[in-house]
Symmetry: C2
Subunit: 353 residues, 2 copies
């Protein structure tokens, strides 16, 4: 059986509450007894029973994290940040993978609610109404999703997209395609809006929205042929995974990157320096997102009355690599073999593919 505070008290020759105090508020106990208690506690290998402590304090010192897919490097990085910051603050984190299933998310939150002090949801798919309701039942912070009612950690998509566009324009690109993510995704809408805003500011820049695709490698593979047919000299992908898919399919099709088409991703995943060619990407400080979300939860926990910083914005950086290059004179002519797609249509598709 484990050693309890009572055991320590008996051995140290003090009362049980002195043991408790020695650990919780050392300054409230006489130096001599403090040392004696601490020594015997250590000697006996005493570890407070956290269930009992939690029963009294109502706090578990556990944080919850819900992500759609642990194997997706995007969420892996965020998870790393959450875990690391939580530990620094003396918390541990329970992780839960929703398997990309929005309907599971709500159930997961409710299950975890009682076990944790607060929760972080990363890129939740569940509808706004559900999220808001959930936030009423427990301390909740959202990552990478907008909400009026719930505190969020967001990334300034406009700034990131602007970096990418400025880069592409500097290389001479004027016809730029966008391979979107899920149409319901907040990030996708934010990025599309940003692209439109930036493109609208330059009269000679044409934006071709190729519609919505799965936010994985498979989505990029599916979109690649449309990109080629569109006649664009550069393409911005919803995220790096999609960009990997583009790269892969372009290679299969014999389309050279960046000579024929330049490719830009979003997220700057750890892998993106290693693709062939290496991928230029708009980077999100994912680990920091995780850290920031924990800071927000803890702040909410400690100052429940404060209605202060409900949104924490992080900024992008641009990692320029080998997948973007100057537009070549041959590129558009060589590729635009499908006339019907080069008629200047700004929105080719607007449905999910």
């Amino acid at each position: 059986m484990a050693v309890s505070a009572r055991d320590v008290a008996r051995v140290a020759g003090v009362s049980i509450s002195t043991v408790s105090r020695a650990l919780a508020r050392p300054e409230d106990v006489a130096p001599a007894t403090l040392e004696k208690v601490l020594d015997t506690a250590r000697g006996m290998g005493y570890r407070p029973n956290l269930a009992a402590r939690g029963l009294i304090t109502g706090r578990t010192r556990i944080l919850g994290l819900i992500v759609p897919d642990l194997e997706n490097p995007f969420f892996a990085s965020v998870t790393k940040g959450v875990q690391s910051r939580a530990r620094d603050a003396g918390y541990v984190v329970i992780i839960s993978d929703s398997d990309e299933d929005p309907s599971q998310e709500a159930e997961l939150v409710r299950d975890l609610c009682k076990r944790v002090d607060g929760m972080v949801m990363c890129s939740p798919r569940a509808p706004d109404s559900v999220i808001t309701e959930l936030a009423g039942e427990c301390t909740l912070v959202l990552i990478n999703r907008q909400s009026r009612d719930v505190p969020t950690v967001q990334i300034d998509n406009l700034e990131g997209i602007r970096l990418a566009m400025v880069h592409l324009r500097a290389l001479g690109h004027r016809t730029i395609a966008y391979v979107g993510g899920p149409s319901t995704s907040w990030s996708n809408m934010a990025r599309l809006d940003a692209l439109r805003t930036v493109a609208a500011q330059r009269a000679d820049t044409e934006l071709i929205n190729l519609g919505s695709f799965q936010p994985y490698v498979s989505g990029g593979v599916a979109a690649a042929d449309l990109v080629i047919a569109s006649g664009a000299t550069a393409v911005v992908a919803y995220n790096d995974l999609v960009a990997y898919g583009l790269l892969d399919r372009f290679r299969q099709r014999g389309v050279a990157v960046p000579d024929d088409i330049s490719v830009v991703g979003v997220d700057d995943l750890p892998m993106s320096g290693l693709t062939t060619p290496s991928l230029t990407s708009v980077g999100i400080p994912l680990v920091n997102c995780g850290r920031a979300s924990v800071d927000m939860v803890l702040s909410l926990l400690e100052h429940p009355t404060w209605p202060p910083v409900h949104h924490h914005d992080l900024s992008f950086h641009l990692a320029v690599r080998a997948s973007t290059g100057v537009v070549s004179p041959t590129s558009t002519s060589a590729l635009s073999r499908v006339p019907s797609n080069t008629d200047g249509t700004k929105e080719l598709l607007d449905t999910d593919v």
Copy 2:
């Protein structure tokens, strides 16, 4: 304030213990009262306080998982498996990232011990003695590490390596280099042993051990030039990350894969179908490793007296992709520009690099 069993009891007009029973052993309570209790409980949104339950049962229904690095896709996959199987069994999992620091591992286990029913350590770096000691303090299962005293989930390296070697030999390769992982790593020793065993069985096959490298992309980059200098026509990397590094550096050096050198990785990470060229890899069923480890922990928990299946072995598969090809007549001559390394030395290096 949250609603307690006492509240439900009062509203339902029964005693508090009937409420408890209704949830724990429905068959022990009369159908009429059962329905009444369950209805009011649901109506009031009653959720048992897990801290209180844990205090009396001594069980938290939490499992712990310690990995060296969450961002490493190897561990991400294992984590996915652990989490998924744990949830199926009604457990949640606390995850902890040791930041590749062996000295942290022991501390993490001890911290988590009191919070969880059992733990899984994935590829721990800590010395045997420490691991054994830890296993004495809590229910512990190891993944990807050998131990006499502690239950483990392992992979049959000999079988996996044999698959790779048979594949390479069928392509005509006779001089095969191995880029090893950390010399202290059990996996590395197991793989090196397996390579030696298989090579020894074929008189015409030469194995060149290039020594130990970091088990990351950087390790592969560091090893690539040695591989080229060794004159080998094929190289087996400690894992896929190392293989990525080899691929990257080979490309930089203008060495064609697989025309000049064939490359084989180990792990078959999700990304490995997307490198250029795509990577032939000996695949570990990582998600299943995670699942199996949870099964072992739960079995240990439920039948603490059984001393049965202490080791669970999983098998490899070989994912043949574009990084391996038939040996070309030019390959050895074209590359072996460093005579001192082509003298047939079987063990070039045996120190860490």
